[in-house]
């Protein structure tokens, strides 16, 4: 099994604060990984480093066998547009471009604009009839689906999603998760940052961060775990010497975060 992503003792340090503390992790091609943790646990910082939008203070990130620290800004931009599809909690659609134009923007920076292909991507997420609407004329769920269509238009190997259902109701959450499921079945590697138990449970594997330190890891798909271990994959680990840290080669299980973290205990 090829490892698409390899994190080797990476840390992100701001002054005295260790946003991510000495994390080692490998993600094989086609895996669906969820990074869970409370707000401020370092999930997004970790995602930024994986997505070539931030560099680690220490350690090394390898994507498709290429060390990101060896690349300059232009090469990192190339990696982003060729390998990665980004889905954001707040959608980040260009407000003055229609849904289809927002999808085409990703094509524009990647290679060649193809409106037909962009419309097909929107059709895939069930938004063909809303293709010529501006983001302001779309609901939150529809905007997120446009964001997903934009992320998958260039057929990236890795989808990075930061709280993709954070601003969605249950119905739209289900639609988006179904889309991820389809992408996963097609062999796309998905890394989702979330503190939603439902979203996390859809992933094959979950790791938990707390104040930048890896504190747990669990598999939701035994077959995937076996395949991973058979390919020489090891559990994630941290070199941080703090209580509760997953520092050895044994995964520490954890209870899924509940939706209470997001909804304030209404469920």
């Amino acid at each position: 099994m090829d490892m698409l992503l390899e994190l080797d003792h990476i840390s992100k340090i701001y002054g005295d604060l260790h946003a991510v503390d000495d994390l080692s992790l490998t993600v094989p091609q086609g895996e669906w990984l969820a990074i869970v943790g409370s707000s401020g646990s370092g999930k997004t910082t970790l995602m930024n480093m994986i997505g070539c939008m931030d560099t680690p203070s220490k350690g090394s990130v390898k994507l498709e066998g290429r060390k990101l620290e060896d690349l300059n800004a232009g090469q990192l931009a190339d990696v982003r547009k060729n390998l990665i599809g980004l889905v954001f909690q707040k959608f980040y659609l260009v407000p003055h471009l229609t849904a289809v134009e927002n999808v085409m923007v990703a094509q524009y920076y990647h290679s060649v604009v193809d409106e037909k292909q962009a419309l097909e991507a929107l059709e895939k997420v069930g938004l063909k009839d809303r293709a010529h609407h501006l983001p302001g004329q779309l609901s939150g769920g529809e905007q997120q689906r446009v964001c997903v269509a934009r992320a998958l238009i260039n057929e990236p190997k890795l989808i990075l999603a930061d709280e993709p259902t954070g601003n969605l109701d249950e119905k739209n959450e289900k639609i988006v998760l179904d889309l991820f499921r389809q992408l996963h079945e097609q062999g796309t590697t998905i890394i989702v940052v979330t503190h939603d138990a439902l979203v996390a449970s859809c992933a094959e594997r979950e790791i938990m961060l707390n104040h930048g330190v890896l504190v747990g890891e669990k598999w939701n798909d035994e077959k995937a775990r076996e395949a991973y271990e058979a390919a020489g994959g090891k559990p994630a680990s941290t070199g941080a010497q703090v209580e509760g840290a997953q520092s050895g080669e044994t995964a520490i299980g954890f209870a899924d975060p509940t939706k209470a973290a997001k909804t304030g205990g209404e469920e």
Binding site: T44, M53, M104
Partner: protein
């Protein structure tokens, strides 16, 4: 759709779907372009207008016969007047008037009479204040000093006598010579030429010569008007050329040609006339009018250019602030584009072209408004319209676009350095 097509689609979407922001940027460019174009139009129109106004205050070039001419008394004949005028006209616009001076007697006292073409003199000397009418057949225009000395009023009668002995060849040539030397200092050569020539070596009072010869015979003329210039014209009697010919009984050339020449290089024109020795004429600039004319125009132009520079700087600041605000409002979008793989250069080009478009639209509208303003100002202040200057208009539109692009460089440069992670930083 090609990528170029997508580029322009994004550009037009940014401009036309974000109208309120776009309007802000366009208005900033528009105000600058309108002010600059209006100032530039006035900068060009005012000196032209001033030049014409200044030239209305009389001649800036005087031509007299040379002492070495075939016959100093003969003056400059009409063919030479025409030839000299052609030389002046080839260098620019011109207005001219000719003067034939004769020494005459009124109530036995000597005066200078000038034979003129009324229309020419009137067109050349807008500053002359004439009480009554200009001379016509049988009617003369007398200077204020002459009128005061003899107690004459408009409509009164004056008897003018001519004696050939008063107009000797020596007197005539002295007349021409002194007109040249005095003209360059005073700018009223014709009048000085006449008075000084006529009174050479004699005591004068109120422009007339004291004399004890009591001879009051002569031709009677009616006083059509009294001229008051505050200069030596006030002691001259002006009559039509025909009346002077009738009075003297002789036809001859003129003693002085005064020009209001529109040439930019008056000295070159003077040199070119003087170089033609076969013409037997001498040209001299009226330095007082010329230098004050140039000085005032230069001062006005400098003032306008300084104001234009200040407006340009203010426009740069205004457009810069507006575009800076627009760019900062789009920080997330820029971060997103970078996250999608856009290079800083690609984003920079998008924003620079967008800024140029704001500048172009603002420049076009501003130039049109600026022309309207300049036209209104010129009509209100100078009572004349100005023609549209296409080169200046094109320059104004290009400058507006350029200013918008230059003003957008610092904010766009800052924006393209945005770390794309800022887009994802919100947890």
């Amino acid at each position: 759709m090609t990528n170029t097509g997508m580029f322009f689609r994004m550009l037009f979407s940014a401009v036309f779907r974000r109208r309120s922001r776009a309007v802000m940027a366009v208005v900033a460019s528009l105000v600058g372009a309108a002010t600059l174009f209006c100032l530039a139009m006035i900068c060009i129109a005012v000196p032209q207008q001033m030049n014409e106004e200044m030239r209305a205050y009389g001649a800036n070039l005087i031509v007299t016969p040379t002492a070495s001419g075939a016959d100093g008394k003969a003056g400059i004949d009409s063919a030479m007047v025409e030839h000299t005028t052609e030389m002046v006209a080839t260098k620019g616009s011109e207005k001219h008037a000719t003067y034939r001076y004769e020494n005459v007697r009124v109530n036995a006292a000597p005066y200078v009479m000038a034979g003129i073409d009324t229309t020419e003199v009137r067109n050349l000397n807008h500053h002359w204040v004439v009480d009554g009418k200009w001379p016509s057949a049988g009617k003369v225009l007398i200077g204020r000093d002459v009128a005061d000395a003899m107690g004459l009023e408009v409509g009164g009668r004056i008897t003018i006598g001519y004696r050939a002995s008063d107009n000797t060849s020596t007197s005539a040539s002295t007349n021409s010579g002194s007109s040249s030397s005095s003209s360059s200092d005073e700018g009223t050569g014709s009048a000085n030429a006449g008075t000084e020539g006529a009174t050479s070596g004699q005591q004068t009072q109120d422009g007339r010569v004291s004399s004890d010869i009591m001879d009051t015979s002569g031709t009677e003329f009616r006083v059509s008007g009294i001229v008051d210039t505050g200069g030596s014209e006030d002691s001259i009697i002006y009559a039509t050329n025909d009346d002077v010919t009738k009075l003297t009984g002789a036809t001859r050339g003129v003693d002085v040609i005064e020009y209001s020449a529109g040439t930019e290089d008056l000295n070159a024109l003077v040199k070119s006339i003087n170089a033609m020795t076969s013409m037997h004429v001498k040209a001299q600039p009226v330095t007082k009018i010329t230098s004050s004319d140039t000085r005032i125009i230069t001062m006005l132009q400098t003032l306008f250019w300084i104001v234009s520079l200040v407006v340009l700087v203010l426009t740069l600041v205004g457009v810069g602030t507006t575009i800076s605000s627009i760019v900062s409002q789009r920080r997330n979008e820029i971060g997103l584009r970078k996250a999608l793989g856009a290079s800083s250069a690609a984003i920079g080009i998008e924003f620079y072209v967008e800024s140029a478009m704001y500048g172009l639209i603002g420049g076009l509208l501003g130039t049109a408004i600026g022309y309207g303003l300049a036209q209104w100002l010129c009509v209100a202040v100078f009572s004349r319209s100005i023609s549209f200057n296409w080169w200046l208009a094109a320059g104004s539109v290009v400058l507006a676009a350029l200013v918008a692009v230059i003003a957008s460089i610092p904010p766009v440069h800052r924006a393209t350095r945005i770390d794309p992670a800022v887009v994802l930083r919100e947890e």
